[in-house]
Amino acid sequence: MSAIARVSSSLSANPLYWQGVMDVNPLTASSQTRLAKVLDCLNSHPAAGCILAVYRRKVVGIATRQDLMSALAQNPDWASMRLAEIVTRPVITVEHSAIAPIAPIIDLLEQHQISYLPVVDAKGHLLGLIDQARLLRVLQNQFTHGLSSEQPGRAQIFADITLKIRQSLQLKEILQTTVDEIQRLLNADRVLIYQVLPDSTGKAVSEAVVAPYPSLLEISFPEEVFPEEYQMLYAEGRIRAIADVHDPNANISECLVEFIDQWDIKSKLIVPIVRPINPSINSVDNGAEDPTAVRKHLWGLLIAHQCRHPRQWSDFELDLMQQLAGQISLALSQGQLMEYLEERVDLRTAELTQANDALQQEIRERKQVEKALRRSEAQLRLITNNLPVLIAYIDRHQRYQFNNQRYEQWLGRSPVDITGQSIQQVMGTAHYQSIRPYIEAVLAGEQVTYESELTFQDGRDRSVSVTYIPHLETAKDSFASQADHESGSKNGRQKSTQVKGFFALTTDISDRKAIERMKDEFIAVVSHELRTPLTSIHTSLKLLATGLLGNLREEGQEMLTVADENTDRLVRLVNNVLDLQRIEAGEVTIDAYACDTAELIEEAVETIQTMAQQHHIKIRVHAESLSIWADPDYIVRTLTNLLGNAIKFSAAGSVVHLSVETTDPALVNSALAKQSTDRETALFCVRDHGQGIPHEKLDSIFERFQQVDSSDSRKKGGTGLGLTICRKIVEQHGGEIWAQSQLGQGSCFFFTVPLSPLLVARSPTQPS
């Protein structure tokens, strides 16, 4: 028995062949073959339904399996029979050139009521066998899978596959569904998706393969089987449909043929999977690719293999593969977009989580702050309610918004009753009229303090000190002040701030007032009761010292001098203590008016002249005639104090200089320069050539009882209060006082007094 050796290439072009309709290896045997051998042959090929008797490659007879069985049953000596005895003759054949359409073949089979139709070439040589059953199976298979060439059917197939592919968003699943569906549809032996890796090698990432053919997953594809120039061709859209990989016209390199022979690949169909490059997603990916280099790149290949036999790929199949490759490309883009979106979602989720954490933290902190605020407010309320002060907040409409409990205790009015009421309602019209100017002042933005009388609930009139503190709001927070600004308000304060209301603090100062009255009386008593006997003693001693009332012995005269000097000192001390007390208590009223500096200096010199003569000191005067705004008595007092000190601390025969001039900034020490230059002042200077003052004492000597040497007060008869009084007087005039000195060379005492406002304004007329 001999099988047909090889199918010619011309026959392989017949589409029926490729669709598996014709068996190219039918069972054949010589006509003289014994039936026993024929039986063995059929038994070993159970799928075969008949055996052809051939002679010189021509079919001379055909015996079906049934024919053989009948012969065996009917002829006991069948073992000696030969094939020629049971075959049917003549055999109906068909030329391969006539079998392209399937319909005439079916007609022929039906017409002759035969099941097998040998296919022969023009010379009658056997090419293959058409098996009716096989033909029907193929037809049925094609029908079942809708492998029809009609367009609606194609579209439906494509739509079905696309739907299946798109049922998943997972790329791996999509790829697997694609290969599974293509394999099922094309009845291919293997369908795979090959991904091109950046190093030009590649790997199969999805595969559908039928047994017994091996899987190509995990197989490394050497670069030679898919060189870079091929990749470029595929990137440009190349499609390869190779019916027979061994066909020289297939133009496959030898190394590739060797590679694919390993896997029994007879035929293959390759379409590229290309992807447009989306620069935005690319840049998100890794930024490795240059977005301007190429607009498409080859991601991979969609490949179908036929291993059982060569296969002619139809246009429909090519078209389907291309369209599905497009779907894969789309899925890849979508997958990439999904990855990108998932990354963004992850990123955004992380950000939101972080923001949420921060928010939670902020809420916790705010709760803590609120708790602290509530605690603080409770403490504040406790304090305000227990302070011996009326505390209220009044809005700009003059209505109470807050009152502490003290209102109830003092005025018999519950804070709850007061809240929302006007000042006039709470205080009464008469009282309101008396304090109205202060309310208007605070609502204009000024802090106000005044003293008043208030009738408490027990009917007693009490002296109270009231302070109004404006509650100011900056312009940027205030709509109303913006309106002020736009209306061109000329007042700077109104333009930048708005008064929302004010705080009113009322303190009962009745006790203080009583003490003040007692102190006033005490001072008056001390002034009179202390000075009157002192005057008597002082005067008596002076008169005794004249010697006109009789001469004393030398020791008596000495004691008289001691008594006289110490009485002088006591008089000065009493005067100074009382003066300082009055100044510090703010009881001294500086009765300032325009005075001439030259006249003040003349008066001071005249006052101190006797003392200067006693100490043999000359006073040299350099006085400009300036108009200052001062109380002349106090300025003379200051000058005589300073001159007295200069005389006391100068050596006999020396000179004390007294001058006054307009302020020379060069003479003003740096700490006071700014203030001195802020406005024009007269600068008084008393300079001596005495022992001088140590540098570290220059400031402290203006403090009470802070003399350079504590024994000075005894030696020089000072009180230790003179410079303190001088400083108080000068400060009350709005001036400054300071000293400069060099030890052993003398001291300079400076003080400034503002010039008369009329002079500063450079009025053409002198002040009266």
């Binding site: 002192l534 005057t535 005067t539 008596s540």
Partner: protein
Amino acid sequence: MHSPKRILIVDDEESIQKVVKLSLKIEASWEGITASSGKEGIRQAESCQPDAILLDVMMPNMDGIATFAALEKNPKTRAIPVILLTAKTQASEKRLFQEIGVAGVITKPFEPLSLASKISQLLNWI
């Protein structure tokens, strides 16, 4: 040199009366007559017609200001210049005294040997 003068000293403090009287005598050989109250001072002024009155401010019952007012109203004493003698030292108080029309103010304690000179200066006797 001081021309002879008669000065009425009105002060409730006897020691002051004495030292003022002696001071005026020693310094200027002036005559000093004394009174211990406002009322007595007015009587003395009417009867003695002094050249000037040194009048203490703080006195019980009728103080210096009230006494001065009475002297001003009295035709017999109206022309006699009055100088207040006071322990009050505040400038505003001194100015207030001057504003009511006194001829001058001398504060205690005073320099005894220049008291007559001060009075002469205030009353333009020099």
